[in-house]
């Protein structure tokens, strides 16, 4: 399987490898960095991050650039909950949202 990404073509094996690495990361969290790197490369992005909230607290992992961004973000003070994002998450339970989707909703 091949997918077109802009002018490039990425072999389906690439995404198969991403899935494999994600499955490995489930057991060995250190591998999430590589998964984020892969997702970043596969979507022609700059960086990625992953955060999880459960009853025990909040955990996140991100690329170093995202880490700097989040550190700066924290210094800006308390957040306002984004009601549009919450609404879109409810409405589109089974997919990814872009900020464009959120802001245009």
């Amino acid at each position: 399987m091949h997918w077109a990404v802009g002018d490039k073509t990425i072999a389906g094996d690439f995404w198969g490898s991403v899935i494999d690495r994600a499955n490995e990361a489930a057991m060995f969290p250190v591998n999430w960095a590589r998964v984020l790197d892969d997702l970043t490369a596969g979507t022609d992005s700059a960086f990625g991050s992953l955060a999880a909230v459960d009853k025990d607290g909040v955990r996140s992992v991100e690329s170093s650039l995202a880490g700097q961004l989040i550190s700066e973000f924290k210094t800006w003070g308390p957040l306002t909950a984004n009601s549009r994002l919450a609404r879109d998450v409810q409405a589109r339970y089974h997919g990814f949202l872009s900020d464009h989707d959120v802001l245009a909703s």
Binding site: T43, R59, Y93, H100
Partner: protein, 172 residues
């Protein structure tokens, strides 16, 4: 300085700081909430539908792996501190903000003579020692921002701890 009246969200921050636009979000909801996002420069947004579609195609795999990882990581930290406690070594796991995540019972023996508190932040009773501890936590934060520590540089054990850190903001 941002206006105190303007709603402050992650997206507004990302856009306002000209750092780049936030990419696709994923809310994988059961009893847990997991958000995975990628970002690129604002001028190159919005994300192309094929990119969103590609992430959606592997979303079930990512969701499953994220959920397993989320459930296991804190358990590993707890087990590590418990194991140290069983051999009589006091131990606590903290996040990068210095907040106590888990501690073993041996630490209670140090209270209140050596430790003033275990709630939220670990507080050393001696002010000078506490200053040193706070300096160490700050050094860890700085090193993390520089990429010198954290899941990208550390081993799996350290990674489990490094993953337990701030991130509530990104959930909103």
């Amino acid at each position: 300085m941002r206006s105190s009246r303007k709603p402050f969200t992650w997206i507004s921050f990302a856009h306002g700081a000209s750092v780049g636009a936030l990419g696709p979000w994923s809310a994988i909801r059961s009893t847990d909430l997991i958000v995975l996002n990628v970002a690129r420069h604002y001028r190159r947004c919005p994300f192309e539908p094929e990119h969103v579609g590609r992430l959606n195609a592997i979303r079930p795999h990512l969701a499953r792996a994220c959920l397993i990882s989320s459930r296991l990581s804190l358990r590993r930290v707890t087990e590590a501190t418990d194991a140290l406690g069983r051999v009589g070594i006091a131990a606590a796991a903290i996040d990068f903000e210095g907040l106590t995540l888990v501690e073993n019972g041996c630490l209670n023996a140090f209270m209140p003579a050596m430790l003033a508190s275990l709630r939220e932040r670990l507080v050393v009773a001696d002010p000078r020692a506490d200053d040193l501890y706070c300096d160490a936590v700050r050094a860890l934060q700085i090193a993390r921002v520089k990429g010198a520590v954290g899941p990208f540089r550390s081993g799996p054990e350290a990674s489990s701890l490094a993953e337990c850190r701030l991130g509530m903001e990104i959930m909103h």
